[in-house]
Symmetry: C2
Subunit: 197 residues, 2 copies
DNA sequence: AGGGTAGCGCAACGCTGTTCTAGAACCTCT
DNA sequence: AGAGGTTCTAGAACAGCGTTGCGCTACCCT
């Protein structure tokens, strides 16, 4: 009875890729279903049958964003200096965020309030920071950090890095500072130093 | 030749107050010019003649938000323990943000990209953190913190606090933690400890 | 070959911010 | 006092949004 599906998984992928591209290039404001459908050569109905609506499409982009982020952070491989590894992880975090601010916005921006996040997505997002937790544990074991609850230290470092990046993207860094990157790693090091034995 | 103005400064104030109220209560998404005009008993034209459009209205709210924020932070009065004063300032920051998340969003959220910020607004916003800078200097003078560049330490503390609050509001705090407030002050203290002499 | 039906493009709905327009309300000048 | 001129404002019009419903299309099964 049916007819050959046009709204298949391949179209889903194309929509998602195109949406990600538009998001990166022009920001969330410029991402409209009508334009997206036109770009891909289909109708807005496709987004509804394949995703369920715009919030659901954004949820998919949310997943995609964390996937990319996690991949980028994974390039930081552990060395024999656990303390410095954590600093490098922070630097990679900043680089990734500044490299694609719009995707970063999808992960940590206001959108979160508009879209209904399924538990799976949230869990995967949280899982992105598993490597961080492991590195903190390694640093504790190596005696580079105090034997505090690892999740507390990890959260502290994450907040520091996220806060710095967030303020930098909003233009709230003090105008006097010449090199934001240098101030960044300095602040991260100081924060980690607060957890030294 | 003219006729008595209806779009006077009093109406401007009423619009701004009503907009602030709606923002607090229902968030930025619910703030529409049509609804706002209806609520205040005027037409959308008023917003255009008194502000210039929605972005300009948001800029006014941005100013208002930082004013409120600054007033709230000013309630933290210096004691004879400069180190602890900084912790208390952080706690006040968190309380203010969680007390009115939508206003906090206007200050540090995505909106920043949509509205054209005049230098005056940005300068006033930055000025809100003058007290923080003073407290850091006091702490350095008292020997509670290292003699680093005060703005760097202030920025580090601000980023820490902002990052924690931001992650907490987004639901990214580790589920295990029982009391976010306690974890917050602990993290702030650890961050400050990193700047100790 | 001809229903039956699932799938899909397109138009319509209600909303948004913004712009345009027509008329109302006042002051000034005759 | 009355007419004219000018400024100001409310509301309609416009373009675009996400979403929903309609109706045609194109296939599978009998």
């Amino acid at each position: 009875m049916p007819r050959p599906k046009v709204h298949d998984d391949a179209l889903r992928v194309r929509l998602l890729e195109r949406a990600g591209h538009t998001l990166s290039a022009k920001g969330l404001r410029a991402l409209s279903l009508r334009q997206l459908a036109t770009d891909v050569g289909t109708s807005t109905t496709a987004v509804y049958s394949l995703f369920g609506g715009k919030p659901a499409l954004l949820t998919a982009l949310f997943d995609e964003a964390f996937h990319r982020f996690g991949t980028h952070l994974a390039t930081v491989t552990p060395s024999d200096e656990p303390f410095e590894d954590l600093v490098q992880l922070g630097i990679a975090y900043r680089a990734s965020a500044l490299d694609d601010p719009h995707f970063y916005e999808v992960m940590f921006g206001t959108i979160r309030a508009d879209i209904t996040m399924d538990p799976g997505s949230l869990a995967r997002a949280a899982g992105t920071f598993e490597p961080l937790l492991r590195m903190v544990r390694r640093a504790i074991d190596a005696g580079a950090l105090r034997a505090e609850e690892p999740s507390v230290i990890a959260m502290s470092l994450w907040a520091m890095v996220h806060g710095l990046v967030s303020l930098e993207m909003r233009g709230f860094l003090p105008p006097g500072a010449p090199d934001p990157g240098q101030a960044f790693s300095k602040a991260v090091r100081a924060n980690l130093a607060g957890w030294r034995p």
